[in-house]
Amino acid sequence: MSEPDSAIQIDDLVVGFGRHVVIDHLSLTVRRGETMGLVGASGGGKSVLMRAMIGLLPKRSGEIRIDPQIERRPVSRLGVLFQQGALFSSLNARQNVQFPLRENVNISDELLDEIANAKLEMVGLTAADGEKFPSELSGGMTKRVALARALALDPAILFLDEPTSGLDPIAAGEFDSLITVLQKTLDLTVFMVTHDLSSLASICDRVAALADGKIAALGSLDDVRASDHPWVRSYFHGVRAKMIHSPAA
């Protein structure tokens, strides 16, 4: 059952609210070092699955195992980029990036500032942007700052909740390439929930399609596109999907 190179292994997971079962006996393995994209209908439980994986939602049954090598690390196991950024509104951008560092390691303010500025630069922002408060940041900048914060401690696994939603196509493309670069340089395992077909095509090694609380299809984008599950078919062969990506490509 257990794959040797798995970063996260989910077995027979059930998550629900009241009488409503959202995730129904789902099993999934995220391999170390890969970028996995999760697609699914709106309200179909993608975020619920991700929140359960992070540990924000209780599970009814089943198991979520993080690679013991990662689990043993004292800090920086997981980094999470929430959909709206979830920056702490009382702190400016730099303090937001510094927060995980300040909480976990005892270093001087000077070094903290330098590290935070470096992280901001890595995500394509300037030191001056660090002075801004979350309310003063645009949507794209918020996501960048949130990414810098998620990466502050160089986590082993990065969770992204619709990283490109609300961004214009240029910004979304830049964000995609940013994630690819960071994933390569920091050797991250990335798990992303997305609706963005071009993100799926450009940065995901594997795609998992969630339908009816289960993984309906899993594999490379082409494998998933070839699936005969009705929902997956309509997702990847709908008008919008065709417009972006002709099957010949």
């Binding site: 924000l56 979830a86 702490f88």
Partner: protein, 346 residues
């Protein structure tokens, strides 16, 4: 439009069906199309109603309307009034018991967190606590002084006005002194703090909940209770007794001023009588209550804040609930303490 529809229905009614000549129709909106569709669907009674004369673009809209509202309604049928009322009452009782459980749960969590802080004081968020103390303590002083000053003055004025008839004006000092130190000073300040700081706490914690900031904290393996709630509750517990003390002083000052200007009692006599009338016990009775009231205000504010769901409406509702519940509980606590102090003879 509905009147026109009814007229048309009457004319069509013979079960033979009929024809609708819509040649004269030049414009049609979705609502109009639906009314036409309804006419052909219902009033025909099985017999076909033929529609002709529409331009192609308008008949497209009619064709669209043809497919609408066909699914059986999935709205549950409305329940009878008594049943609704009984269910509402049951929900209300259930929500009250949930309130108690949530309150005790958070009280326990905050106590546990405070216990850990006592063992390892470095865990305390000092910066945050001092900042909250500044907000709920220092910044609240002017408004608290003003309100309690006015309350003291009003009590004294009313006392003098009514006691004058019995020639017992001098007893107004006893009344102001005892009332302010034992009850009014701390009660007014606690109510003001619930409205001013409790609501702010709920709104802050609630909007952090809405913006997933609390989830972000959890993913960074920080305990939101330790980071967000303990500093706020602790700041209230420190600030409220101080504010109640200052408020009591302001109320006595207001009372003394009115006794002098309105009742003609010189300050020297007022102070001398005050010294006879009140003892340190009265003052203690008032101040002992303050930290407990602060704890309740803080916990209720946090419970309600953490209950905020995604919408702005929910934030507003929980903020209101926070203020109403904490003021209610402050008064209940005051009553419990009154019984307690009476029975131990304080």
């Amino acid at each position: 439009m509905e009147r026109l529809l009814r007229e048309a229905e009457l004319r069509l009614h013979p079960a033979s069906g009929g024809e609708l000549d819509l040649t004269a129709v030049t414009a049609l909106d979705t609502s109009g199309a639906w009314v036409l569709e309804k006419l052909t669907r219902e009033s025909a009674g099985g017999a076909a109603v033929e529609v002709h004369g529409l331009t192609t673009s308008l008949s497209g809209l009619l064709a669209q309307a043809h497919g609408l509202n066909r699914r059986p309604s999935d709205i549950e049928p409305r329940k009878a009034w008594p049943q609704v009322q009984i269910e509402r009452a049951a929900d209300y009782m259930a929500s009250m018991s949930r309130d108690v459980v949530a309150f005790l749960h958070l009280l326990g969590a905050v106590s546990a967190s405070l216990g850990l802080i006592m063992l390892r004081p470095a865990r305390l968020r000092l910066t945050s606590t001092v900042y909250q103390l500044f907000r709920v303590g220092w910044q609240a002083i002017p408004i608290m002084l003003l309100i309690t000053f006015l309350i003291g003055a009003i009590i004294a004025q009313q006392g003098i006005f009514h006691f004058r008839r019995f020639g017992a004006e001098s007893y107004v000092v006893d009344m102001v002194g005892i009332l302010v130190l034992r009850e009014i000073g701390v009660l007014i300040v606690a109510i003001m703090v619930a409205g001013r700081s409790g609501s702010a706490y709920t709104a802050e914690i609630g909007s952090m909940k809405m913006r997933e900031e609390i989830d972000a904290l959890i993913t960074m393996e920080r305990d939101p209770i330790e980071v967000l709630i303990v500093p706020r509750v602790l700041a209230l517990i420190i600030a409220l007794p101080i504010l109640a003390f200052l408020g009591s002083l302001a109320a006595l000052y207001g009372g003394g001023l009115v006794a002098w200007l309105y009742g003609g009692m010189s300050p020297a006599i007022f102070i001398a009588r005050l010294r006879e009338a009140v003892s340190v016990t009265h003052f203690e009775v008032g101040l002992i209550k303050a930290p407990f009231m602060a704890l309740v205000i803080g916990i209720v504010a946090a419970v309600e804040g953490l209950r905020v769901k995604g919408s702005a409406e929910s934030l507003g509702r929980q903020t209101t609930a926070s203020v109403v519940k904490s003021i209610f509980l402050v008064i209940v606590i005051d009553g419990i303490f009154a019984v307690f102090f009476a029975s131990i003879g304080m």
